[in-house]
């Protein structure tokens, strides 16, 4: 991959990360990460649990000091200019960071005051953002009574109070049902449409495709691939065919037959026994057609045939030759380290 190797804070770069390292004792949560997010774009950081995504976001929001390396956000150094930096970022964490005991409106007003807005303006901004995130009806209710999707929307609204130049979304839809996930995606797309630079971490290829223009794939604290999302999708094998034979007994024979043909994409055929399907990554329409032809030739009755984006596992298989690593190096929250900021 080619990267623009201009020095820190190059023109047009909202977030610049160089050689970022974070160790927790023997655990390397980040092991030399480089990253550039251009202004006004959405950078997706894709990786499994424990890959270091949250550590990266925490360092970039000054909640954690790096062991070594450099990072700047909007030109401010994360270590040397934390106060200035905090003024230009918005953070929406993995766990909705709103005060559940406070009503939605009070949550936003509080953040407004903490961001030095005059009372009147803080009030107006709270009203405006509640309206915009469709929470006006729930404005006076404690956030504890909100649904999961409402809470994330409130969290997003809270992040937007200070009109941040850079917004961090740390796994914004983890744990949400598909409908709510769509709801959050739509809000994020709207924000992006207004020119906010976004750093998005996610475990889902689908989420990255929905929201991000560029993608950085991380594993065990290292960047293993980066580039435009289309380019990476092509490298990964584009699509996955999910084939469900009507007779589950046909699963294994079908998979073996397809393997034998040697027309699958990079990751190889896998069997999803739980849901009774064979997954075949395909690189092109020709391959797709060939697979369908092979199935037909064997006279296997199908109950469904769908194409979907490659899973995280397939992304990893194709990029690294191994599956996404188990979260063995997840940063234990109990073992938090002392760091001066």
């Amino acid at each position: 991959m080619t990267r623009i190797d201009n020095d820190l804070g190059g023109a047009g770069s909202a977030v610049t990360v160089r050689g970022l390292v974070k160790h927790y004792g023997a655990t390397k949560a980040l092991d030399g990460v480089d990253l550039d997010v251009r202004e006004g774009t959405v950078m997706g950081v894709l990786g499994p649990n424990g890959a270091g995504k949250t550590t990266l976001v925490r360092i970039l929001s000054t909640l954690l000091a790096p062991t070594s390396g450099h990072a700047t956000v909007a030109g401010y150094d994360v270590v040397r200019q934390p106060r200035q930096l905090r003024r230009v970022i918005g953070l929406t964490g993995q766990y909705a960071s709103v005060d559940e005991k406070l009503p939605g409106w009070e949550n936003l007003y509080l953040i407004g005051r903490l961001l030095d807005l005059p009372r009147k303006e803080a009030r107006a901004r709270a009203d405006e953002l509640l309206e915009r995130f469709s929470l006006t009806d729930a404005a006076r209710r404690p956030a504890a009574t909100y649904s999961g999707g409402m809470r994330r929307r409130l969290d997003l609204a809270a992040s937007m109070i200070g009109r941040p130049a850079v917004l961090y979304l740390d796994e914004p839809t983890t744990g949400l049902d598909p409908r709510t996930r769509n709801e959050v995606w739509n809000e994020v797309k709207r924000l992006v449409g207004e020119g906010v630079t976004v750093l998005l971490t996610t475990q889902y290829m689908e989420e990255a495709e929905q929201l991000a223009g560029e993608l950085t794939v991380v594993d065990r604290g290292k960047v293993i691939a980066s580039g435009g999302i289309e380019e990476l999708k092509a490298r990964v094998g584009g699509r996955t065919l999910r084939i469900r034979p009507a007779d589950p007994g046909q699963l294994r024979p079908l998979a073996d037959a397809l393997d034998g043909l040697g027309i699958t994409g990079l990751a190889g055929t896998t069997v999803d026994a739980e849901r009774g399907a064979v997954l075949v990554p395909v690189l092109s329409d020709e391959q797709l057609t060939a697979v369908v032809g092979a199935v037909t030739a064997r006279d296997i009755t199908l109950s469904s045939l769908t194409t979907e984006l490659p899973s995280l596992d397939e992304v990893f298989l194709s990029l690294t030759g191994h599956r996404a690593s188990a979260p063995q190096d997840a940063v234990p929250t109990e073992n938090r380290e002392e760091v001066a900021v």
């Binding site: 106060r83 005051r113 903490l114």
Partner: protein, 272 residues
């Protein structure tokens, strides 16, 4: 914190002004007060503690300890009410750590710490609200005390004693805030507070005169700041020697605050 040492562009100086600190602390005080409104049960301890303890001590121990004071239950009322006032600050302080710890286990603290605010603001706001709770508890204690026979003879002394207890209580709060930041969960903060506080409270002159205690324990109580606070409050409210205990209490308060406030703020600032 070296933000001002860098390039002196127009946006480079991000020092937070005194007004800024006050604004942030005020906004956070509002938050903590809203909590009480949202969850009135959180005031139970402040309301019930003085009632339960006053009645318990006066009616259970009052008669027998009162005798050793050369009177009866009435004599003990005069003894225990200032003592309980000393204890009040401590019990409130303990609650601070627990509540603060719970805050950390939600994402709210992360959001606060990613905002451009002085990080002491969060702690100052918490302490301010706890002081209000402490004063409410003290008022209730005095009302219940008067109902069971406490004589208020010296109003200025009474106010001085309330002030002294508040000052000492706020000094203790810094210890518990530190524990709240450092320890993993609310239960351990509570357990830790209990383990430290029980011996300190009972090994003092809060509940009973110390003359009848064994020599080693009496020596301990003599150096226990809680004895000094209880004795100073007693002296101020009902009469007797005050000066030495008063200075001792103030010295402890200043000393604890001078050491623990920076520690608490530092731990809060650097908690990852």
């Amino acid at each position: 914190m070296s933000a001002t040492t860098l390039d002196a562009g127009p946006r480079a100086d991000a020092r937070i002004t005194l007004r800024g600190h006050l604004r942030h602390t005020g906004a956070l005080i509002r938050r903590n007060l809203l909590w009480i409104r949202q969850d009135p049960e959180s005031m139970f301890d402040a309301v019930l503690f003085p009632i339960v303890f006053t009645l318990l001590f006066v009616y259970v121990f009052g008669g027998s300890i009162g005798q050793s004071l050369g009177g009866g239950q009435e004599a003990y009322v005069q003894y225990i009410v200032p003592g309980l006032m000393a204890m009040m600050g401590m019990n409130m302080a303990q609650g601070v750590g627990t509540g603060f710890n719970q805050d950390f286990n939600t994402g709210v603290m992360d959001r606060f710490r990613s905002l451009p605010i002085g990080r002491g603001s969060v702690l100052f706001a918490k302490i301010s609200v706890e002081m209000v709770r402490m004063l409410i508890a003290t008022a209730i204690l005095l009302v219940v005390g008067v109902l069971v026979g406490f004589d208020i003879t010296n109003w200025p002394g009474l106010f001085a004693a309330v002030g002294l207890s508040a000052v000492f209580g706020s000094a203790l709060m810094w210890i518990f805030l530190t524990l709240g930041v450092v320890m993993k969960n609310a239960q351990s903060v509570q357990a830790m507070g209990f383990l430290v506080l029980m011996p300190l409270q009972f090994g003092s002159s809060i509940f009973a005169p110390t003359q009848s205690m064994p020599g080693w324990l009496e020596a301990f109580t003599a150096y226990n700041p809680l004895s000094a606070l209880a004795d100073a409050a007693r002296g101020l409210m009902v009469g007797g020697p005050v000066a030495q205990d008063l200075w001792m209490t103030l010295a402890w308060s200043v000393g604890l605050t001078a050491v623990m406030a920076p520690v608490a703020i530092h731990k809060f600032r650097t908690k990852s």
